[in-house]
Symmetry: C2
Subunit: 241 residues, 2 copies
DNA sequence: CACTACTTGAGAAAAGAATCACAAGGATAC
DNA sequence: GTATCCTTGTGATTCTTTTCTCAAGTAGTG
């Protein structure tokens, strides 16, 4: 009926979405290197997954490849980004103008991918009125009216853990639908608000656990030449997370 | 035989390790509130998982609870952190002294949890010699000798994507065993080096996908009072990543 | 135009992870 | 000391996700 590749809308695993973000990252790198077509296996190797995994992930959204050929890099990028809804601008607000908050406000890649921070908030009276990257810092009490006025749906929390819940509550009251939470604290929000936790410690714990508990990888020794030899043919590691 | 709770060393899922980090986060918050004992179900609710999930996760490492009572908060924290190997200091180095790098260097929670950045590197000649939080910026060429001299095993990469691979190669040559990579790029390292990717975009993509594709949650309208009512009894969301 | 070489897409099978259900163990009250 | 109550730890079950396998489809070659 339709000329678009009919999407098989059943339940799509969260893991698939996560991997799609990585595929885009690698595909964009390929595009910069002027690679125009790639098949699933080499792409999979660059992403640290199986080829069949990529094909299955993409199949949730439609048919983007050409049998016998592979995938057109640019077409695949736009197919994935539009499938996910990240092919256009998303205005955002940020709460917590500390070191990390400022880093996010100035993050060029973030802005380049359409994530535009439109307003920033902090509860520290000494910061109110400061300008960061051209944006004025507003008090957290004004989150609700400003979010409502701007009609923003996504927010970033970069406060200390003890202030994350208050920020989240203000944001929810203002009608925010999604929160990217960098604060090392769990927050409670209404059911319709989706929270993504960016937890450095989780990654660090994982790193250290794998370091200390993987005696299977404890190779005796390895000199610089040996490392260089392995540098470009080793497994870049599973995506998961 | 031993008086320590015998660990059942079989394969431990990565997902379990990730959750343990969250358990510690919530337990530390409980400890601050002077909660001394907690049973699996209330802890599970605060973490956004099932009680049986917590019990199973802990069972991989031993028996830390008291039947009929629950878990001692402080004891459980130290049991988990020592099981994971995060109960002592970990010296680290950092490559890429930009906005994000500086934020990590100044991150108090990071330092408080034993992750101590001992040396920092950048390839920008104008940054070499600068002091950040008391640390002098060294050129990336010196990564190998300095890492070897310090005997550091863990590194953080906060460079732009195009410089992440070079940083990773230098680090691997210096004998680094684990890398926390904030750069939005996949890196290739020898098999024995473990890489953890901290990918904001992955979280953003997930957030937006859930926003746009979850029409099941599209409640008609909801005023502020309604939101407040739900604020403290709603599901804080699954841990997953 | 038939034939070969490749690659996708998808059903089937395998592996893995979360949940359930309950026996075992410990604390407390009487 | 005995009975009752409560919560853990774990085997069994269910559910989810990944991997395997191969038919279907496309481009290029002689």
């Amino acid at each position: 009926m339709t000329d678009t590749p009919q999407p098989k809308r059943k339940h799509i695993p969260q893991a698939t979405i996560k991997r799609l973000a990585t595929y885009v990252q690698v595909l964009e790198s390929l595009a910069r290197d002027n690679v125009s077509v790639i098949s699933s296996n080499p792409l999979a190797e660059a992403c640290g997954v199986q080829g069949s995994q990529i094909r299955k992930d993409l199949a949730y959204f439609g048919e983007f490849g050409i049998r016998g050929v592979g995938y057109q890099v640019n077409h695949l990028i736009s197919s994935i980004t539009s499938s996910l809804g990240v092919d256009h601008e998303w205005p955002m607000v940020l709460v917590g103008v500390g070191n990390l908050g400022k880093a996010m406000i100035n993050h060029i890649g973030f802005h380049a991918h359409g994530f535009h921070i439109k307003a920033i908030f902090d509860c520290d009276p000494f910061k109110i009125g400061d300008k960061v990257h051209g944006l004025e810092v507003f008090p957290t009490q004004e989150i609700k009216p400003i979010v409502e006025k701007l009609g923003v749906e996504i927010a970033v929390i970069t406060t200390p853990p003890e202030r994350a819940q208050r920020a989240a509550s203000y944001l929810a009251e203002g009608g925010i639908k999604g929160i990217l939470n960098f604060a090392p604290a769990r927050i409670k929000v209404p059911d319709h608000v989706h929270v993504e936790y960016v937890d450095f410690f989780r990654h660090m714990y994982n790193l250290i656990f794998n370091l200390t508990q993987d005696p299977k990888e404890a190779k005796p020794e390895r000199d610089a030449m040996d490392i260089k030899k392995h540098l470009f043919d080793s497994d870049p590691g599973q995506i998961r997370d």
